[in-house]
């Protein structure tokens, strides 16, 4: 019997069945997540996600650790509730929001990948939808992931929800809150990133937009003696999704304007901002040139 082995088989046709457009989109989603997390890239690309993960997950683990060691621990009284965590981790999440979307959106325009993507089965709309899903899932890792760590950790420490039905309710609330905490920021960061191919400009725009709206609205509504309508709070781009997430978790901030703002306004604000920034991205990508 011959021992010969053919090493070079030459060009081979692909005889299998091609996957559809949905699979192409999912491939882009995975690629976007890998890119934002620095996977298959140099170490410096992993620094920012590692810092954010360290902040939010270490904080969650510390909370859980305290629950284990302090037997009379009441997470609400101690300021370690799910809502407290959502509020205090907000600035770390902001770092991720300002970093993730520019990384996965702007670089495609600058590096010329956009023309390759649009020459694939993706359209401008499906491309943007895949990128948005990628950013949303990335943000879920910091809005939902730590909440689940807390939920499972507290449950094991005996300070979590009692009974299966309570646990399931808490789990659903955590998933909803994490999703709400990621949805509007996804639209905002993609909307702003879609107007420039420069990553740094987009990151700065997102961070400044979120911090400035938070600073101005917080300053106006919390100043002593000020007779400001609480509904002005809907203009706080940074805190609108966080406060809604806090309420989904069954809690509520007791400072102005949130203590006076109805949940309906928060739901409406999140929906409207998501639509506005989503439309901004969509229109920008219908017009963006693909000559590069």
């Amino acid at each position: 019997m011959s021992q010969a082995i053919i090493h070079d088989q030459g060009y081979r046709r692909f005889e299998g069945e091609r996957r559809g457009v949905a699979a192409s989109m999912w491939s882009l989603v995975v690629h976007a997540i890998q890119r934002a997390l620095g996977i298959k890239r140099q170490f410096r690309s992993k620094v920012m996600p590692l810092i954010v993960f360290a902040i939010v997950y270490l904080t969650a683990v510390i909370f859980v650790g305290l629950a284990f060691f302090l037997k009379s621990f009441d997470i609400g009284d101690a300021g370690f509730s799910y809502g407290d965590f959502a509020s205090t981790s907000g600035f770390a999440v902001l770092l991720f929001i300002a970093f993730a979307a520019p990384e996965v959106i702007c670089t495609d325009r600058k590096s010329g990948m956009l023309s390759l993507y649009l020459a694939s089965p993706l359209t401008r709309t499906t491309y943007l939808a895949a990128k948005a899903l990628g950013v949303f899932l990335i943000l879920l890792t910091v809005t939902l992931g730590p909440q689940l760590v807390l939920l499972f950790g507290y449950t094991m420490a005996g300070t979590g929800p009692g009974g299966v039905d309570k646990f399931i309710e808490a789990f659903v609330r955590a998933v909803l809150a994490g999703s709400v905490g990621a949805l509007m920021p996804t639209a905002l960061s993609i909307g702003i990133s879609s107007v420039t191919p420069k990553r740094a400009f987009a990151s700065a725009g997102i961070a400044v937009g979120l911090l400035a709206s938070n600073g101005v609205i917080h300053g106006l509504t919390s100043s002593e003696g000020a007779d400001i309508d609480a509904r002005l709070g809907v203009l706080n781009l940074f805190y609108v999704p966080i406060e809604l997430a806090v309420r989904i978790l069954g809690e509520r901030n007791d400072v102005a304007p949130w203590n006076e703002l109805a949940t309906g306004w928060l739901v409406l604000a999140n929906a409207v901002w998501t639509l506005i920034f989503g439309a901004m991205a969509w229109f920008a990508y219908q017009r963006v040139s693909v000559d590069r």
């Binding site: 030459g10 060009y11 081979r12 046709r13 692909f14 299998g16 091609r18 996957r19 559809g20 457009v21 699979a23 192409s24 491939s27 882009l28 690629h31 298959k40 890239r41 140099q42 690309s45 670089t107 600058k110 590096s111 010329g112 990948m113 023309s115 390759l116 993507y117 649009l118 020459a119 694939s120 089965p121 993706l122 359209t123 499906t126 693909v290 000559d291 590069r292």
Partner: protein, 305 residues
């Protein structure tokens, strides 16, 4: 002949600018060169072929499908290498090629294998795990070619694939393109403004200018016909030309002193006159129509019009 691309009265413009006014042509299998000066509308036509631009009027069929109606499904079967050299700097070639293959519907494991195979085919086997940012322009062009063929397309569209290459790299790239077109059996549309390249590798050509198709068809039909003879003698070129003119032939003298005799029956007359003059012949060969002749003839007609 099966038409890979078939355009009938296709027009495209932006506002008051009419880039393409009336394109009618048919591209068959094999390698087809898309020729035209800068700004002639080659890239616009490519974008319409890919279904990225809607036409204003006319009909366009690519692989038997209307790109406007079935853009995503059609692009699944098309490979495209853009003109620019910008690719993600921090991504290695294998990952990029695999990613593009996956986008075109190839399952991940097969895409990984094909990415590696195609990078070997284009001569980047050893370099496939290098970040693209560390690669030369020539290597990037090869990466672009590899990503265009990795998903086994039915049609590959290459936009200025030799742009930025030195002569040696250009010859290598053209050799690769020729090999992919002939050995791999993939139909290709090669957009270029370099006549020599198209003449070197293509089977068919479409020349566009002024918004219309100037000429199209098989390269062998457009060029290659005998135009006459080129004669180089060691003395008395002027007298040779004069006597041939007297004999009724259309004769020109180049700045190098070569005598161009038009008419495919002129060989005997040239021999007789050379013998009469008693001069030595340094060169005597058939002059054929080149793509450059065709292109320049179209350009001069346009100028005259």
């Amino acid at each position: 002949m099966t038409a890979v691309i078939e355009a009938t009265n296709v027009a495209k413009g932006w506002g008051s600018t009419h880039v393409l006014t009336d394109l009618t042509f048919s591209v068959g299998t094999g390698l087809t060169g898309l020729l035209g000066s800068n700004g002639a509308g080659k890239t616009t036509l490519i974008k319409m072929v890919l279904g990225l631009h809607d036409r204003d009027q006319g009909n366009l069929l690519v692989l038997g499908t209307d790109p406007e109606e079935a853009g995503p499904e059609l692009r699944m079967r098309i490979g495209f290498a853009p003109e620019h050299h910008h690719l993600p700097e921090d991504v290695n070639a294998a990952d990029l090629v695999r990613h593009i293959a996956e986008l075109h519907g190839i399952p991940k494991q097969i895409a990984t294998e094909r990415a590696s195979d195609m990078l070997w085919e284009v001569g980047l086997g050893e370099e496939r795990f290098r970040p693209i940012g560390t690669m030369s322009t020539g290597q990037r062009q090869r990466v672009k070619l590899a990503q265009a063929i990795a998903h086994d397309p039915s049609l590959v569209v290459l936009d200025e694939p030799t742009d930025g290459l030195d002569p040696v790299q250009r010859d290598e790239m053209l050799g690769l393109i020729r090999r992919i077109g002939s050995e791999f059996g993939i139909d290709m549309l090669l957009s270029s403004h370099r006549l020599v390249e198209v003449e070197q590798v293509c089977d068919n050509v479409v020349i566009i200018g002024d918004g219309i198709v100037k000429r199209s068809g098989a390269l062998s039909d457009l060029s290659g016909a005998d135009l006459g003879y080129i004669v180089s003698v060691d003395d008395k070129s002027d007298e040779l030309a004069a006597q041939l003119r007297t004999a009724g032939y259309d004769v020109n003298i180049t700045i190098d002193g070569d005598v161009l005799v038009n008419g495919d029956q002129a060989a005997l007359a040239v021999r007789n006159v050379v013998a009469t003059l008693g001069v030595g012949i340094r060169r005597f060969e058939t002059r054929r129509v080149t793509l450059e002749d065709v292109y320049l003839a179209e350009a001069s007609e346009t100028g005259a019009a």
